[in-house]
């Protein structure tokens, strides 16, 4: 940051400051005009692309567009995020994500399975519904905000399929889950080329290789507006490790309300970002533009954090409360209960270590109910642990062993086992620290 030292630079410091101030003012004008442009009723078709790879920022710009764009407008927004795991609004991060490996590179923690060496992976809860997805630089996200009255859950996925087919991806189609898949059939059959829900390679369920998912959809609906956003795996270098991020070690022990992800085999389309973005922008213009005319594509970026509404949304997405307390109620149990005996029958096989029985109920991220019972540890110990855990925020627990230890002394072996087990399956990832981009 610091300029190289020397008389020349010292003499020019004041000049540089003025220059910098002028640039800042220009930048500020640019993003003030962004808010005005988005909200201007005359701009019925708008197109943006982000040069930031910050998932929290891109989601907040998207939300700003949803909240402020004119009721009858259609807006395309394209962005690519740095590696991150994005869960749906009503999902459970402990259930959906392998939280222990997100900061693997940072903490240098290596487990029996070597964590993937792709560095820090952000954890994000988006505002739209749906399941958990992995993003990285090989994935292009598209988002379309349009009037709710004419909205269907398939129309924009169909639009993306049309763009892909023009790029020669003949196997792309929209499936019954409103996602885009590539058919894997070996035999080419006759098929209507305009049908975005069928390709010459479509085969019946179970009759051959499963289609590969290349794009997932999610929606946020407001009064008159509908936001549809989707991922597009063009060339992710991480396909082989994505499953590691999306398999939680706590899963066999959790019973959660809310929305659970539907797991699908994924694949890369094999296209370059620029060409896909260009075809998508054209297809969007063909769908919404007057006479198919393309709107000017505006570039947005980090400086948009200076727009107060975007900043607010950005800060909120980065809080522990949004990330964890927003989680629908769930229970953690290390033994089969009557209620869940059938669904938890695999617990016995998975669980080998703790001898004591442990159960807790978590609501809004807070431990609301907790029971521990071991054959060798005393009732006093059980009561103490119960008091220690009740009303505590799960996301605040950094060290289970310290928490369950007795006044700094070693806990009963049964309790130690429970603490170790909890640390293993319920780690707390580091959330992003407050940053100071501006």
């Amino acid at each position: 940051m610091a300029p190289s030292r020397g008389l020349y630079h010292v003499q020019h410091t004041s000049h540089r400051l003025i220059e910098g101030g002028r640039n800042m003012a220009l930048a500020r004008r640019a993003f003030t005009s962004f808010s005005e442009k988005v909200a201007n009723p005359a701009n019925r078709v708008q197109s943006y692309i982000s040069r930031s790879n910050n998932p929290y920022l891109n989601l907040s710009i998207e939300d700003h567009i949803l909240r402020t764009s004119p009721p009858d407008s259609a807006i395309l927004f394209l962005y690519t995020n740095r590696p991150c795991v994005v869960i749906g609004r009503n999902q459970n991060p402990w259930l959906e994500v392998n939280l222990g490996i997100l900061n693997a590179a940072k903490s240098g923690r290596a487990k029996d399975t070597e964590p993937p060496a792709i560095g820090n992976v952000d954890l994000v809860r988006r505002r739209s519904g749906g399941g958990t997805v992995f993003h990285d630089e090989g994935n292009v996200n598209w988002s379309i905000t349009s009037p709710r009255a004419e909205f269907t859950r398939d129309k924009h996925a169909e639009m993306v399929v049309r763009a892909l087919r023009k790029l020669g991806i003949a196997r792309a189609r929209v499936n019954e889950r409103h996602d885009i898949v590539l058919d894997q059939g070996h035999v080419k059959r006759d098929c209507d080329s305009q049908d975005t829900h069928r390709t010459p390679y479509t085969i019946d369920d179970g009759a051959g290789p499963r289609p590969l998912k290349v794009s997932g959809s999610a929606y946020k609906l407001t009064r008159g507006r509908a936001l549809h956003h989707g991922t597009t795996l063009l060339a992710s270098p991480n396909l082989h490790i994505i499953p590691q991020y999306l398999h939680s070690p706590a899963k066999p022990f959790l019973k959660a309300k809310g929305v659970e992800s539907f797991s699908s085999p994924v694949g890369n389309i094999g296209l370059r970002d620029e060409i896909f973005q260009k075809y998508l922008q054209e297809e969007f213009a063909a769908m919404y533009g007057a006479g198919g005319k393309q709107p000017t594509v505006e570039i947005v970026g980090e400086e948009y954090l200076n727009i107060p509404e975007i900043r607010r949304g950005y800060e909120e997405l980065r809080t522990a409360d949004w990330m964890f307390s927003q989680t629908p109620q769930f229970t953690l149990t290390n033994y089969p209960t009557n209620e869940s005996a059938s669904s938890n029958s695999h617990i016995n096989q998975t669980l080998t270590t703790p001898v004591a029985r442990f159960h807790m109920t978590i609501h809004h991220g807070v431990i609301k109910d907790c029971e521990i019972d071991g054959p060798q540890s005393s009732k006093d110990t059980h009561d103490r642990i119960r008091t220690q855990l009740l009303d505590r925020k799960l996301q605040d627990i950094q060290n289970w062993s310290d928490l369950l230890a007795h006044d700094g002394q070693a806990a009963h072996p049964e309790v130690t086992m429970i603490a170790r087990w909890l640390a293993e399956i319920m780690p707390t990832p580091q959330l992003p620290k407050p940053d100071c981009i501006y």
Partner: protein, 173 residues
Amino acid sequence: MVARLLVAHGARQLTSSAVRRPASFFPSTCQRWQKASAQHRLFSVSAAVKAKQYTEDHEWIELSPDGKTCILGISDYAAKQLGDVVYIELPQLDMEISAGDAIGAVESVKSASDILTPIGGKVVDRNGVLEEKPGTVNRDPEGDGWIAKIEVEGKPEGKLMSKEEYTAFTEEV
């Protein structure tokens, strides 16, 4: 828990009595109302307030006869539009709310939609049944699928419509 269920049940009856009353019952019901209003004028005024009112966001509210509380839910039309509801985020008890606030959310087919309140006050009850059976909102959005009970403070804000006006509004959209 029992107390809450009782309250919930009471609230349910309150809402469903207005919605589900078969058309053929109307004459006799009206006569009863008329009789009552002749004896207690004030009561007839509040009875008029009790009719369900709808917002442009597709929520409904129904004020209690004394106008102190109201039940809030989402409309039949909205429930149909949303498709299969898989999760409902209910408002927290005792939460202070203002007109226009999002007091909860509905998720259906990968879509999140906010539940907005047209009236301010305090949340005094919520329909716990929806936590176990969110599909109740699809089955009976204007009866068993009610969302919350609010202790009303102030007047509703924004446009509120009668059933007829709301039907016309949804046909227009």
